[in-house]
Amino acid sequence: MTFNTASFVIQVAALILVLAALHKPLGIYLARVFEGTTHSRPERLFYRLAGIDASADQTWSVYLRSVLAFSAVSILAVFGLQRLQGVLPGSGSLPGVDPWIAMNTAISFVTNTNWQTYVPETTIGIFVQMTLLAVQNFLSAAVGIVVAVALIRGIARTKTDRLGNFWADLTRTSFRVLLPLAFIAALVMVLGGVMQNFWPTDVTNQAAGISQTIPGGPVASQEAIKELGTNGGGYFNANSAHPFENPNAFISLFEVFLILLIPSALPYAYGRMVGDQKQGYTVAAVMGTLWLTSMSLMGWAVAAGQGNATAAAGGLGEGFEQRLGAAPSAIFAASTTLTSTGAVNVAHDSLPPLAGGVAMVNMMLGEVAPGGTGSGLYGMLILSIISVFIAGLMVGRTPEYLGKKIGPTQMKLAAMYILVTPTLVLALAGITVLLPEIMANAPSTGPHQFGEVLYAFTSGANNNGSAFGGITSSGPFLSVMIGLAMLLGRFLPIVLVLALAGSLARQGKVPASAGTVPTHGALFGSLLLGVTVILTALSYFPALALGPLAEGLLK
């Protein structure tokens, strides 16, 4: 199949236009939700049932304790109920899920990663899909957003130790933002051909003598929040390549739109909440520049179609769906890895080597362009703080960010944040490649085999969830290693972000002076862009050189 450049350009332009039109109204709505002080009647009922005091303003440590307690309880519940699948209703004849797989899956969905070490069709029934996994799609996305909101409050508030109420933030984000958007998106998907029922259908083609059982399930409701919440866990094994998850090129584009919708509106909400819209636009411009650059590189790498087998086939095809083709697959692959989504509509393992490399680089950037729901924004704000620090070094002034002093405490927290994922990725991938019996789980050879392992840990630690699918990760060793990557890659940064938010909220505002580096505009935007790219390159270049670069550049 050929790469249709005109189609690619028009679809990318359409995405930019629609998202540009929606970022402001949605951003205003988001800011209103986060800043609201009133509770609706159903919310009050919900708080009473759950025993929540929604008016309590929490310190950063209590906010953090709530995040961690909620996530721990979620992991235990998702793990335990998967183990009990055999006796739960609506699971067909499927038995309890293997403990290693259940552990990995519980961590995976609670951390917004949605790495899938299980084969849904043969492992997981409707009950687990609908009441455990899809619910975590909502809640893990909401947790990412509320942590970003707490950081914004830390920047905006002065001389306080209070960051808001986690439970109220979580409730509002889930029910006022995610639920209504997901409901509308799910209906669009049903109209477009995504199924939503609860029973299989036996079909028989009399003339050809073929009988099949067409699976059923609540696919549209799960698919909508899977994209909207940048989760990515497919109802079916083939994820968004499966015709029931992604029946045609229109729905494919709609799914990419959903992936980008909330992350691209959050910077506007940020600007509004700190009372300086230029801040939001600077962050959005950096995200957009990275997105467009990476998207172009992905398009180029897919169109170039390198690979011996691709050449022998006479073009792209392996792992691609015919109804979608090359351009929609490139658009999806770039967007899913620049956010923390990890849904795929093409087999990433079979992509041309440099296209697979672009997917890895996208995740290694820390998924900040525009990133996961919430996590993209807080990642970009940490990078902004590092950028003002570097600018401060250049002009010899104590760095400030929006009137808050970036002192040793703040810099230590930001620097640790930046080090978490590269350390996890490189250390865990390094340990894995030293174990020949584990490497047998990645059946490829040479740089591509290393690429499969590097991709797995990059995806896990950055909470992406897409994979070079050739690797088999269901055994105890890789389940635990990737589970660790997901767990630490999610919660260590959250601990650091909330600690930073607490330390910023305590400060008073320093008035801007002639020596203050402005944190908006083209100059600061370029600096932020440079810092983001250089930090990634310094951390990962050697590993990339051994994997996709070796495969793509050497003959």
Binding site: N197, I214, A241, E321
Partner: protein, 202 residues
Amino acid sequence: MNTLSGYFRQAGTALRFLVFATLVLGVAYPLAVFGVGQLIAPYQANGSIIRDDAGAPAASALIAQAAADDNGVQDPRWFHARPSAVSWDPAASSASNLGPNDPKLLEAVEANRSAVSAAEGVSESEVPADAVTASGSGLDPHISPEYARLQVARVAAAHGLGAEAVSLLVDRHTSSGLLAFLGQPSVNVTALNLAVAAAAQP
């Protein structure tokens, strides 16, 4: 101690939150989508099932249907679907996940090319890429118009139909307009084979 009891209190809140959130997000929401879906688009919501003349469900328009023997060789009487890593089994779905330089993939592509070339009686250079590569889902019901055209003569002969009549059916099952522009022109083999069967009925 204070922190520990704080954690326990938070965990209790978390559990209750999770239970009630699940009732809304994990039960009410999917049921609402189900209810509205059945109302506004029952055909799509139930898997795009195509029925035969007798009204019995014959296929899903979205899922490949291939009459293949145990070796994966497809019945010569029908239009062939693309190669599949899961033998077109709707109870599974997967790509081959072989790398673009993988010798196993190279071997599979070359074997597929000879097989298609022999089955259609055309030279190997005429076989398009989609005919020799496995799809991402293994259930892709679509092929390229080029691959469909290669198969017209064989299918027409098997059913005693004119090549022109079969070509017309191919055109009718080829995507066009916006969907073809966003994606690419594709022929739905599942629907096409049912149309061929209907046309061949005496």
